[in-house]
Amino acid sequence: MEYEFLLNGTAYSIKLEKAKSGHKAVLGKIEIPFASSQISDNEYSIMFDGESKSVYIAETNGALFVHINGRVIRLDKAGLENNNFAAGGDVFGAKDEVSTLMPGKIVKILVGEGDKVTLNQTLVIVESMKMENKIVSPTDGEIKSIHFSDGDLVEPGQPIIILIPAD
């Protein structure tokens, strides 16, 4: 069985095969022997060369959350578009778009169309959960268009500002 996952945009392909003792995962040249027992729907006890590890996994809309050694890694199933912010996704807007990760209220837009802006310059202030968050420019460039006004409610991923990146 072969599977492909995306981690921050990079694709990883992995095969599971029988090994002489237990099983192994094959990632390119690397082979990882393991043995496993399922504890519950979301919990596995996996043996990686002599160490038994508790692994916790949950999936939603093609996003897999894998907890191992006290760290959570989010892997997206390849070939699936996943913009499920509600599930804690951390998808960043394209380089020529400014959007927010959280639903919120636009407190103040600090730039106007045509303004020249620099990387990390604060463009918009959005309030979510009672906290003000500064949204900064992902690039040097120029403001092409602005799609909201102060006081508007904005949803995650909606482009607030479109930029023309300098190159």
């Binding site: 992995i14 599971l16 760290r71």
Partner: protein, 499 residues
């Protein structure tokens, strides 16, 4: 003693108060907003009443609706928890008018200590050390700029009505201050309905040390020693501990006495916290009184061996204080980590969504005060605190290790949390060494997160493939609740609770 207490709050603190009620043989009433119908605090109460829509102003801040519910359900007291209406003296006053006991200080003393400027005046008179600052609050930027010049930069700008760091900004020069005033006033207005701010000298590399106090309605008071809460992000505490490594017996005694003096001059009653800044030379400055039960109250409970919520309720019921200062002592060490739905990799931006899976830490020396469960929805409407993990051990060293071990085996999947960040914090050599200053995170955690090791990634990928190889039936239920809505989710009917 009270027959029935309404808890005007949600999340872990509401659940914690309800448990205390049960232990004291008191019935509890939960109030909830429409999106909190399946929240844990609703399940934990003896009764539950919906009091309005999701936005706090329509539910958890809706004084009329809460008072009405208290009357309808026959509650003879209200516990406000922390946040929401906990430090709203108008709410306390309303309770007093309606003949419902407000479990907290009187509206009068709450109003006094709640107004930082007024409380500075009162305390200054009796010689309590204060940080140099403006004499009164202001909404005039120019006035603030002039004051800043007199005090000298860096200065700290705070919302006058504020708390929990909301509306707080540090300014190191005139330009920064201008920006700070503008957004600080905006935040103050939206968070507290009052845009007034004020300025004070910003103390570099301080520790945040606070003293827990209990005062009865008969003039008796004790302090329950200190909590150090220096580990903060966005001016909000995320790790608290007791005792503080920075205090010796003499300093502890002097600060405790000062705390009790503050309580005395402000006529404060019930549980409260007196906050201090402690500078590098062990000089301490009074900051403010928090007129509520603190988020971090459990560390005191573990180290001093009392139950603060029980104490609040008994004091509010009129009991005379049963504790004597000389009988109280600290034993062992306790650390609390606040579990927030937020993304430490992205400026601690709150994270909402469904908790697909959670497993609570348990075992020796571990306490978990939790407000959520596998399958619950974390909403954007409220403070993103999910729970509090508290570790207790005979020594600080073991306590750090115990906390780190518990955090390492505490999966919350589906939303971002600060669990990994907290684990690396309590594991940090500087933390273990006790070098805990309010700038700890900028100074020591700026390079967080560590890079993912290839071995670790490979094991995660292997696990993901293994998981994906399993029959779909199982995966569909990996999400705590089935997608098919229950035919029995009968909503309106909940309101019969009050009847």
């Amino acid at each position: 003693m009270f027959k029935k207490i309404l808890i005007a709050n949600r999340g872990e603190i509401a659940v914690r108060v309800m448990k205390a009620c049960r232990e004291l043989g008191i019935k509890s009433v939960a109030v909830y907003s429409t999106i909190d119908r399946t929240a844990l605090h609703v399940q934990s109460a003896d009764e539950a009443v919906c009091i309005g829509e999701a936005p706090p102003s329509e539910s958890y801040l809706n004084i009329d609706s809460i008072i009405e519910t208290a009357k309808k359900t026959g509650a003879d007291a209200i516990h406000p928890g922390y946040g929401f209406l906990a430090e709203n003296h108008l709410f306390a006053e309303r309770c007093e008018k309606e003949g419902i006991v407000f479990i907290g200080p009187t509206s009068r003393s709450m109003k006094l200590v709640g107004d930082k400027v007024a409380s500075r005046a009162v305390t200054e008179n009796v010689g309590i050390p204060l940080i140099p600052g403006m004499k009164h609050k202001s909404t005039d930027p120019d006035e603030c700029l002039t004051a800043a010049k007199k005090i000298g930069y860096p200065v700290l700008l705070k919302a006058s009505a504020g708390g929990g760091g909301k509306g707080m900004h540090v300014a190191r020069n005139k330009e920064e201050l201008k920006e700070a005033i503008e957004s600080g006033m905006r935040e103050a207005k939206s968070a507290f309905g009052d845009p007034s701010v004020y300025l004070e000298k910003y103390i570099e590399k301080p520790r945040h040390v606070e003293f827990q106090v209990l005062a009865d309605n008969h003039g008796d008071a004790v302090h329950l020693f200190e909590r150090e809460c220096s580990i903060q992000r966005r001016h909000q505490k995320i790790v608290e501990e007791s005792p503080s490594v920075a205090l010796d017996d003499d300093l502890r005694r002097r600060m405790g006495e000062t705390a009790l003096k503050v309580v005395e001059v402000s006529g404060y009653t019930n549980a409260g916290t007196v906050e201090f800044l402690l500078d590098e030379n062990k000089k301490f400055y009074f900051l403010e009184v928090n007129a509520r039960l603190q988020v971090e109250h459990p560390v005191t409970e573990l180290v001093v061996g009392i139950d603060l919520v029980h104490a609040q309720i008994r004091i509010a019921a009129g009991e005379k204080l049963w504790l004597k200062q000389e009988q109280l002592s600290q034993r062992g060490h306790a650390i609390e980590c606040r579990i927030y739905a937020e993304d430490p990799e992205n400026n601690f931006l709150p994270s909402a969504g469904k908790i697909l899976y959670m497993k609570e830490p348990t075992g020796p020396g571990i306490r978990h005060d939790c407000g959520v469960y596998s399958g619950s929805e974390v909403s954007v409407y409220y403070d993103p605190i999910l729970s509090k993990l508290i570790a207790y051990a005979p020594t600080r060293e073991i306590c750090c290790q115990r906390m780190a071990a518990a955090l390492a085996n505490f999966p919350i999947l589906g939303i971002k949390t600060d669990i990994e960040f907290l684990k690396d914090t309590v594991n940090h050599p500087e933390f273990i060494a006790g070098n805990t200053f309010t700038n700890f995170i900028e100074k020591n955690m700026s390079d967080w997160p560590p890079e993912t090791k290839i071995d670790h990634l490979n094991r995660a990928l292997t696990s993901a493939a293994l998981f994906s190889s399993l029959p779909k039936t199982r995966i569909s239920s990996s999400d705590g609740k089935s997608s098919i809505p229950s035919p029995w989710e009968s909503l309106g009917a909940w309101e019969i609770a009050g009847g």
